[in-house]
Every structure is written in structure tokens, then in C-alpha cells.
Symmetry: C2
Subunit: 195 residues, 2 copies
């Protein structure tokens, strides 16, 4: 089955987003990462910063902030409401055009379609630590701690919404170690599969 | 770094062994799967059937059989003794020649070498159920149960000896869904990486 969409899940700093962007360029696919946030803001009317903070991470990361965000009129928590809106957005994008979607449990949202290629990108910690400092600059936290915190949040979010374990081979058609294969090598392997 | 060895871990019925054998033929590498059992029998002097039963599965699968297998003179359980002998065998093979090794936690045993490519092959259950009946014939257990039992044993064994989770992307340079990519497709992708 010819693939019309690629979802890319990735460890923080592994270059997954970069790989997705290059693939989208080379294949002439649309590219969605933070663009989904814009669409969610449009759809829900919520503040962008709030959506950014809530959309990628599961409730529970901060019990107090969760308690205070309240519920929608029909009793759904705002997190669950945002998840539903995000899910709808992904399905709308998928129906509209060929695209690459980074993160946001898109592999799970689109699991019933057979024209989607699900990819996981990971890398060893040294490669990732170096890369996040190059890409995002220094921070008060050490790079290793930043990696661990971000990966943990992604894993918890994925578990909460999909009931699957983040980073298990069986959830993806293809997983690649970008520190071994290189960013360009990963792009080439995924493109070969899609073409 | 040019790869001199490929380890293939695999879900039961995914075609991982077949992929390994074709790769070994095409690359001119030695191929080790059950051949390691022969070497273990030679090394330890134990009965082949006993080694076959014990070597791939962790203690705990059957508490009683474990209790009765006894201990070596230096107090090591026979399972641990066999694990150590298997580990030594894999390291000896790796030192001797270019090879493909299927299963036996070889990815973990060889993790400190940078000339090893670690691969995980998995597939959806329908593909695997069909394949095990074609390859190994019918049995009194239903194919789905056979898959689940065997995968569970492999996961427990891997966890026991490596303290890692079996089938996590980060333990492998490359993981491939053979039901999506096909046996030949998997061979081609791995070969391209090695060459």
C-alpha cells in the first residue's frame, strides 16, 4: 500500500523532527509539528501557551495545575478535551493531504489506516545531549537531565492516551538509531520505503 | 564503523531467522542460531535436549525443574552457568569471524563492540500466526497462543539476563516490521546498512 503519511515519534534530541522536515521537503508532503498547536488554538479558542503546555503532556505531571484547569460543560477534563481536539485535527489533516506528522501520538491516532508509515527515531544519550545544546542552547539543567525529563513526559503522555509503551518496536513499522545511521541515512531509508 | 556482525532478535514467526540466513548467505557471513547449542553441548558436556530447554529461557518458567537442576561446584545455578558458557561462546564466535547471530541476547552480550549491528524483527500477529503454521506445522495449541507463549518466554529470558525490556527500540540500531516491509525488503534494508 502506497504511503500517504509518515508519523515520526522520537526521543528528545534524536533529530526526529529534522528528519521529518527533510522528508516532507523531499517527498512534497506537508509537515506538521508545532503547526498542530496553531490549529488547536483555532479550533478550541484557548490561549496558545496553555495549549502548548497541556497538549503534549498527560495530566498527572502536575496534579495541582490539573486540578485547577477545570472541566468542559459536558464534564470532560480540559486535557481530555484537548486530546480529542488534537485527535480530530490529525484525522482532518490526514484526510486532506499527504503529510509528515511529528509526535502527538499520531501513530496511535492513525493506526487503523494502512497508508501510514509509523517511524520511531532514537539515539544514544551522548549524541542527543550534544544535539540539544546545539539546537536549543544551554539551560540551567544539565543536558542529561533535560533528556530524561522530556523522554519521561513523552512516555507518560503516550501511555496515558494510548495504553501502550512508548518506544516499543511493535508500535512502529520502522525504528532507527540516528546516532548510528546518521540523520541523512535515516531520511534515505524512510524515503526508500515510502517510494 | 564497518559492521562485522549482525545480531537479530525477533518475535516468534516474524521471519527473523530467515532474514538472518539470507543475509549471511548474501554477505558471506557465518550464520549462528541453533549451531550455538551444539557449541554449548561441546563446551559443557551436558545433554543436548537439556541445553536446548535451558539455554533460551530464564529460570522461573518452571520453578520445580529449576529447583531440581542443581548447582555447579562453585555454587552457580546451572542456568547461570549455561548463560555464562553461551556468553563466552558468542564472544568467541565474534572474535573469530564475521557472522549473523539469531537470538540468545547476542545484542546485549556484544553491546560494547561498535562493529555490531543490532536488529529487531517483528510483525503483526496475523502474519506471524500464518507463518508458524506454514513453517512448523499445526499443534494442539492455537497459533495465537503459541505466539504469546513464546514471546513471553523470550521477554522474560531477556529481562532476566540483561535487565532490559525485550523489544524496546533503543536496544537495537534498527527495528523492522516484516509484515509491512516483507522478508526481502528487510534483508535489503539491513544489507544496505552493512554495506
Amino acid at each position: 500500500m502506497k504511503k500517504k503519511m509518515i508519523t515520526i515519534s522520537r526521543e528528545f534530541g534524536s533529530g526526529g523532527r529534522t528528519i521529518g522536515r527533510i522528508l516532507a521537503d523531499q517527498l512534497g508532503f506537508a509537515f506538521y509539528d508545532k503547526e498542530i498547536i496553531e490549529k488547536l488554538v483555532e479550533k478550541t479558542g484557548y490561549d496558545k501557551k496553555f495549549v502548548e503546555e497541556q497538549a503534549e503532556y498527560a495530566p498527572g505531571k502536575n496534579v495541582f495545575s490539573y486540578a485547577f484547569v477545570g472541566r468542559t460543560i459536558d464534564g470532560m477534563s480540559l486535557n481530555d478535551y484537548l486530546w480529542r481536539a488534537q485527535r480530530e485535527t490529525i484525522l482532518e489533516l490526514a484526510a486532506k493531504e499527504n503529510c509528515v506528522i511529528v509526535g502527538r501520538c499520531a501513530d496511535f491516532v492513525l493506526k487503523d489506516r494502512d497508508d501510514v508509515l509509523n517511524v520511531f527515531i532514537h539515539a544514544n544519550k551522548e549524541f542527543r545531549a550534544k544535539r540539544i545544546v546545539e539546537q536549543y542552547g544551554e539551560s540551567t539543567d544539565k543536558p542529561m537531565k533535560r533528556l530524561e525529563d522530556k523522554d519521561k513526559k513523552r512516555a507518560v503522555n503516550y501511555k496515558y492516551y494510548t495504553d501502550q509503551t512508548w518506544g516499543m518496536c511493535r508500535n512502529y513499522h520502522l525504528s532507527l538509531d540516528s546516532s548510528e545511521i546518521g540523520i541523512e541515512g535515516c531520511v534515505r531509508m524512510i524515503r526508500d520505503l515510502v517510494e
